[in-house]
């Protein structure tokens, strides 16, 4: 809970003393910067009639709510401040770090509610920016703290992914075990051949031991092959399923989740993190499993063969582990640096090629080259240092292992001589020598694989974090419950006191009230950033209002089944998105069962039938990513055809004609005129003349409705906002025309 329940006793006492007896405190919040902007707590209490601020080094500040005209929370550079406007000027109530932006926005709103005579209601859905358990900062508000998620838990979830394939997974473990046993047999056969066949003279056993050696080698090979094949299948299957789940889940997450993230970040999570996980599951995990089993088995065999010699072999082990930890501690940051520098070089090269015209036009070739060389040189140095450290690490390990081998070769024969070849025997020594390489070898990579595991687990944690995000609550559009809840839509829309902010503290809609009747066309007008597109986003239920409600045919939109509702809404956007596929598939994207005749009818109505047939592949023309390039007007008309096929009772036109020339606009306008007939339509248009056909116009400014009426009513309004906008646009158009005439 981001708000405090209680302050320390002395602060509570001081604040109570400053308030009227029995005056309730609605909000208690601790700011994390003092008035000198040092990291120190400052307590803020918003009571019914007063705001109190208690900083350690200051006297308590008390402001009567009645003396405040407005409270606001502003973001500064690396911090923020809560201020109160009074008749005497502005008073800073608190400074805070960016951790507290949503909380302080809620505090400002609470003060404003009290000014308006209402009791404030604190939001309960503010996600904190620090882990409630360990206090560590979080990568995203409300996300899991990776430091507090036990690795065991991640491992268990990973193992849980294997549950549909548990028999294969169990088979893999058995195969791995057999493979390790088969591998361990070979040095033992050396011992038997040396001790029994050569030393003790059981010559007839030679074929037996050689055969066993061959069988062990073949078994080891077969088990390894089977294990690798099974691992590839399992890891590939698990990751493919995971990617599928991620894709489905992403499409069901709220727009507020997508709005906060770049597409690249999410693509990275689906592809890079899962591929990192795949590589670890395919190569790293088997390595750990096989080598851990081998390590334990060999250690046991060595102790059984000769405990003294085994001890000598074990002596370098801590050195190898410590050395490995130290070296990898150095190497991993270097590898990160190298990765970063390679990325920087890629981006520089990409920029140089993409921006070649600008570089040439401004004759900046030498500067670009210098910049590239500088970065290239840094990459060279980092790569050189990385390789040098790596070589040093490798040679260090080789030295430690050599010392271990030399010790065995020195002390082993000494023992043989002293015991007359009984303990250890010559065979023991041979087996020891063979086992040493198998024993030391994996140790050098253990730390690296553990680090690899850590990085794969980081990816897994991010994947699970995404999967744990709550999707939009919904039921299938065609389910009986959905149909029962929303059998049909007449198209009456009402916004009642709707407030909304994408980021808490930055309110975009500040109490929108508007009504649209069924079949009515409403034009939304206003400057960029006034809040028009936000109104539409809320109507599409991409986001939910912070306050107020939106009604559809008199029912709260938030209570209606989402997918079922969206079936009844069509949208034509400024920059329509076409999916990779044929023209026909794109037109019937919202209604895949539409017949070809329906598609053609829609295409004709949207004025795109002719240009489609002009294309070599007609309705089969591939469009979208990697497809045929279409002009803005062509794509726009395709999206109108898509909306016609979808046939929704509510239609949204978001700057549908802003990106096209006048001729194209005329044909799009005609298409739109057919499309809007009989539908509730909300249209945003940059060119105000295009809204002439709207039944009513609503002018929005700074998140509020400031004017509404018919086109003629608004034009006739003395000093009206809309009339001024139209005049301004007419003048600009005239200027443009004059310019064209003078150029001609």
């Amino acid at each position: 809970m981001p708000f405090d329940r209680e302050f320390p006793a002395s602060t509570e006492r001081d604040i109570s003393a400053a308030l009227e007896p029995g005056e309730p405190i609605h909000v208690r919040l601790t700011a994390d910067l003092d008035f000198d902007q040092r990291f120190a707590p400052v307590r803020l209490a918003i009571a019914h009639k007063h705001v109190c601020v208690a900083a350690e080094a200051r006297q308590i500040m008390v402001l009567p709510i009645a003396g405040i005209t407005k409270a606001s929370s502003d973001e500064l550079y690396g911090s923020g401040r809560l201020t109160a406007e009074t008749a005497d000027g502005e008073r800073v109530l608190a400074y805070f770090t960016r951790h507290l932006v949503p909380e302080m926005a809620a505090a400002a709103r609470a003060i404003n509610e009290l000014i308006a005579g209402r009791t404030p209601v604190l939001p309960t859905d503010i996600d904190t920016a620090s882990c409630a358990r360990c206090g560590a900062p979080l990568a995203e508000r409300g996300s899991n703290c990776p430091l507090c998620v036990p690795r065991r838990q991640i491992l268990m979830r990973l193992i849980g992914l294997l549950s549909p394939f548990r028999y294969r997974a169990m088979a893999l473990i058995v195969i791995t075990l057999f493979g390790v046993v088969a591998q361990m047999l070979t040095p033992l056969t050396y011992k038997q051949i040396v001790d029994r066949v050569l030393t003790q003279g059981h010559h007839h056993e030679l074929a037996l031991w050689a055969g066993l050696m061959l069988a062990a080698a073949i078994a080891s090979l077969v088990f390894r092959y089977a294990g690798n094949t099974l691992t590839s299948w399992l890891s590939g299957r698990v990751v493919a399923d995971l990617q599928g789940r991620l894709h489905v889940h992403l499409s069901r997450l709220r727009m507020s989740y997508h709005g906060r993230r770049e597409a690249g970040e999410l693509v990275g999570r689906v592809m890079n993190d899962s591929m990192e996980l795949l590589h670890f599951l395919k190569d790293g995990f088997p390595y750990l499993l096989v080598n851990l089993l081998s390590f334990i088995t060999i250690a046991t065999i060595l102790v059984i063969l000769n405990p003294t010699l085994a001890l000598i072999v074990f002596v370098p082990v801590p050195l190898l582990i410590l050395g490995g930890t130290w070296f990898w501690g150095k190497l991993i940051p270097l590898r990160h640096k190298r990765g970063f520098r390679i990325g920087r070089l890629h981006s520089l090269l990409g920029e140089s090629i993409r921006g070649i015209k600008v570089v040439k036009a401004l004759t900046q070739e030498d500067r670009r080259s210098r910049e590239f060389d500088q970065n290239n040189d840094q990459l060279f140095k980092t790569t050189y240092i990385t390789d040098r450290v790596f070589s040093g690490f490798y040679e260090f390990l080789a030295l430690v292992m050599a010392v271990g081998s030399v010790a065995v070769w020195y002390l082993g024969p000494k023992g043989i001589i002293a015991s007359g070849g009984r303990d250890p025997s010559l065979g023991d020594l041979m087996a020891f020598v063979a086992y040493i390489a198998m024993f030391y070898g994996p140790l050098q990579w253990f730390t690296a694989v553990l680090n690899w595991m850590s990085s794969a687990f980081a990816g897994a944690e991010r994947i699970f974090n995404l999967l744990d995000q709550v999707p939009e609550p919904d039921i299938a559009a065609d389910s009986p419950e959905a149909i029962a809840a929303l059998p049909s839509v007449a198209g009456g829309i009402e916004f009642r006191g709707v407030h909304f902010s994408y980021e808490r503290g930055k309110e975009v809609l500040k109490g929108i009230d508007l009504v649209v009747g069924p079949g009515e066309m409403l034009g939304l007008v206003g400057k960029s950033g006034a809040g028009k597109s936000t109104v539409i986003s809320l109507l599409c239920r991409f986001y939910e209002p912070d306050l107020g409600e939106i009604l559809l045919d008199g029912r709260n939109l938030a209570t209606l089944p989402l997918a079922r509702y969206r079936r009844h809404v069509g949208i034509v956007m400024q920059d329509p998105f076409l999916f990779r596929g044929s023209v026909i598939d794109n037109i019937r994207y919202g209604k895949p069962e539409a017949t070809f005749a329906e598609v053609v009818e829609a295409a004709k109505a949207a004025h795109c039938h002719d240009f489609i047939l002009e294309k070599e592949d007609g309705y089969d023309t591939m469009v979208g990513d990697g497809g045929v390039e279409l002009s803005g007007g062509e794509r726009q008309r395709l999206s109108i055809a898509r909306a016609i096929v979808h046939d929704p009772p509510i239609l949204i036109l978001d700057e549908a004609t802003s990106a096209v020339d006048s001729d194209t606009e005329k044909s799009i306008q005609e298409a739109i005129a057919r499309l809007v007939k009989g539908r509730t339509t909300i249209a945003i248009a940059h060119r105000l003349a295009t809204l002439r056909n709207a039944h009513r116009l609503v002018v929005i400014d700074d998140g509020r409705v400031i004017e509404q009426g018919t086109h003629d009513e608004l034009m006739a309004k003395e000093g009206g906002h809309f009339a001024r906008l139209v005049r301004l646009q007419t003048e600009i158009n005239k200027l443009k025309t004059d310019q064209i005439v003078s150029i001609a």
């Binding site: 902007q37 960016r98 900062p137 979080l138």
Partner: protein, 155 residues
């Protein structure tokens, strides 16, 4: 840059500026180049998101106006200067920092070096954490060895 006369005053905590003899209006005082030119050009922004004036340096102001402008800048730009790095580590892809700064001790994190670290020079680093809190290492060389080692672990 044309010469502008600016006289600053305060109404409680809010700075006002009378520009070229006009009535004093509430202003926000900002650096024109907050990363590469702190200490240089200063701009005065009005409430309607309009740049009212820009001066080459605070030195052109009278002493009282300079004090007010400097206070405004100090309040607006909250950049904690790192004096010691207790620990810095990469964990689960996040770069966790626990640092001592001129404003007190703080823990923060960011993910990508390229996105969150700006090198003013090889020795002078600006860091923006995931929430856009700002930190600065004014001189890497001036930090103690332990701090430098920690920085090297993550950047």
């Amino acid at each position: 840059m044309p010469e502008t006369s600016i006289v600053m005053s305060r109404k409680l905590d809010r700075a006002h500026a009378a520009i070229d003899g006009a009535d004093a209006v509430p202003v926000r005082v900002v650096w024109a180049r907050p990363i590469t030119g702190r200490g240089a050009e200063v701009a005065f922004l009005g409430d309607a998101k309009v740049a009212l004036a820009m001066i080459p340096t605070l030195d052109v102001l009278d002493p009282r106006s300079r004090t007010i402008a400097q206070e405004e800048l100090d309040r607006r730009y909250c950049v904690a200067r790192i004096t010691r790095v207790h620990s810095a580590s990469v964990n689960f892809g996040n770069r966790y920092w626990d640092v001592e700064t001129d404003r007190g001790r703080r823990r923060f994190l960011f993910r990508e070096v390229g996105k969150h670290v700006t090198r003013i020079t090889a020795d002078h680093l600006l860091i923006r954490d995931t929430l856009a809190n700002r930190f600065e290492i004014a001189s890497l060389a001036a930090l103690d060895q332990h701090s430098r080692d920690q920085v090297n672990q993550v950047i």
